[in-house]
């Protein structure tokens, strides 16, 4: 079990955890959401196949009121 960071918060992650599984496990809706790992965008088509390595820093953003 490794630890990754999601939106600034530490989270344990099993070695083969994919982005898609992370979103599903954390109850994150899949539409209107974007994911970056270590400062780089990960396209939605790659979510199911992108595995989160140890110490990955993940950002999950969605639109909200502002501007």
């Amino acid at each position: 079990m490794s630890t990754i960071t999601v939106n600034g918060r530490a989270r344990p992650a099993r070695p083969d955890l994919t982005v898609a599984e992370l979103l599903r496990e954390d109850g994150t809706e899949r539409t209107g959401v974007a994911v970056a790992i270590d400062g780089a965008l990960v396209h939605r088509e790659q979510w199911a196949t992108t595995v989160l390595r140890t110490d990955a820093v993940v950002e999950v953003l969605s639109p909200m009121q502002g501007g």
Partner: protein, 375 residues
């Protein structure tokens, strides 16, 4: 045999259970014990006008009627629960500490005057006479005399005590509503067991939306994170609730008789995040000590976080959402304030007793929900 199951043991769930317990055969409350429950950390301001925003007149009407029910509710909770809920009626003082805030204060005064509640405008000296602990930076104030406040910890304890005495069980554990055909007919426990019920009351606060979705219903609640601090001075330094904006940070200070002061609160749309952040602590402490400097030497008791149940129009969902399902959720910042209204609405939905016309705009499936794009 009318069995009621209530999902959620926050203020909405407990007041609903208590409101029904005399007139139905059985009430059971389930609470999943999730982090971020708003009710235990809420400050307990019962102020229909202090936070009033333009365009929320319907909510204000419901809130104003609900506040008027609090003195009686407090008395009944004391009798039934054996706990003094700390109802205070010293009112609110809205303060301006900066030139830019004077205009906002005037705006709020006009807003209140339009509702027929013109507040008294006080100069700095009068404010400090009322509250000697106020900073000399205070420039002016508005006095809202009809505002109340309540000790939320005591309210929850009183309700739990009252329910216990009536034989109403409060069980720990996550449950979700279940349907049979078009009716909601009970709840399923995490063990897989199903407990039947004639009525399920959904009062799960920020978590109500996924639970409603389990039976195919859309209840537009989203979590709105709030952080607040509890300070304590050796002897009380304040009598009224204070509200101000300091360098753009809105802050309130709610005093309790035991010297505790609740300082709040931040507001962030950031999902189910329940972290206590330095940013919130800094902002709230700087703002609070700008208003009441001697709080710098108070005891810092706790840094709390809760998830308010926010909705698209800031109003609650009260009433029957589907056969067998009553919702009492989406109370946003007004859970305690609206407790009397919630009790009336739940009784109306389950027992057919009289409803308040002020609650009509807050039924489920109202126009703000009828939009293309929602599941």
């Amino acid at each position: 045999m009318t069995r009621v199951v209530v999902i959620g043991a926050g203020i909405a769930g407990l007041i609903s259970a208590w409101a029904l317990s005399d007139d139905v055969d059985s009430v059971v409350v389930h609470d999943a014990g999730l982090t971020g429950q708003a009710s235990p950390v809420a400050a307990g301001m019962l102020a229909s006008a202090a936070e009033l925003a333009d365009g929320e007149e319907a909510l204000h009407a419901l809130a104003a009627r609900s506040v008027r029910g609090w003195p009686e509710l407090a008395g009944r909770l004391r009798d039934a629960g054996g706990v003094d809920v700390g109802l205070r009626d010293e009112g609110t003082l809205l303060l301006s500490l900066h030139r830019d805030d004077d205009a906002e204060l005037d705006r709020h005064a006009r807003r209140l005057a339009r509702l027929g509640l013109p507040p008294a405008r006080l100069d700095a000296r009068t404010c400090r006479r009322l509250e000697p602990a106020l900073s000399s930076a205070v420039r002016a104030g508005l006095r809202l005399e009809d505002d109340l406040s309540v000790d939320t910890t005591a309210v929850l304890a009183a309700l739990r005590g009252a329910l216990r005495r009536r034989g109403v069980e409060i069980r720990s554990g996550a449950v979700e509503p279940v349907r049979t055909g078009e009716r909601v007919t009970g709840v399923r426990l995490s063990s897989g067991d199903v407990h039947p019920a004639n009525v399920v009351v959904l009062a799960a606060g920020a978590h109500s939306r996924p639970l409603a979705a389990r039976v195919g219903l859309e209840v537009g609640v989203r979590p709105v994170k709030g952080e607040l601090l509890r300070l304590r001075t050796h002897t009380p330094v304040l009598t009224c609730t204070l509200r101000a904006q300091v360098d753009g940070v809105p802050v309130y200070l709610v005093p309790r008789r035991n010297g505790e002061v609740v300082v709040g609160a931040t507001s962030d749309d950031c999902g189910f995040d329940t972290r206590r952040t330095p940013r919130a602590a800094l902002d709230l402490l700087l703002a609070a000590t700008a208003v009441v400097p001697e709080l710098r030497d108070a005891e810092l008791v706790s840094h709390d976080v809760g998830l308010r149940p926010g909705t698209a129009d800031n109003g609650p969902y009260l009433g029957e959402a589907a056969p067998g399902l009553v919702v009492a959720t989406g109370h946003y910042r007004h859970g305690y304030l609206l407790a009397p209204a919630t009790a009336v609405a739940v009784r109306h939905a389950v027992l057919g007793t009289a409803a308040w016309p002020e609650a009509v705009p807050f039924r489920p499936h109202r126009p703000v929900d009828q939009k293309v794009g929602l599941p």
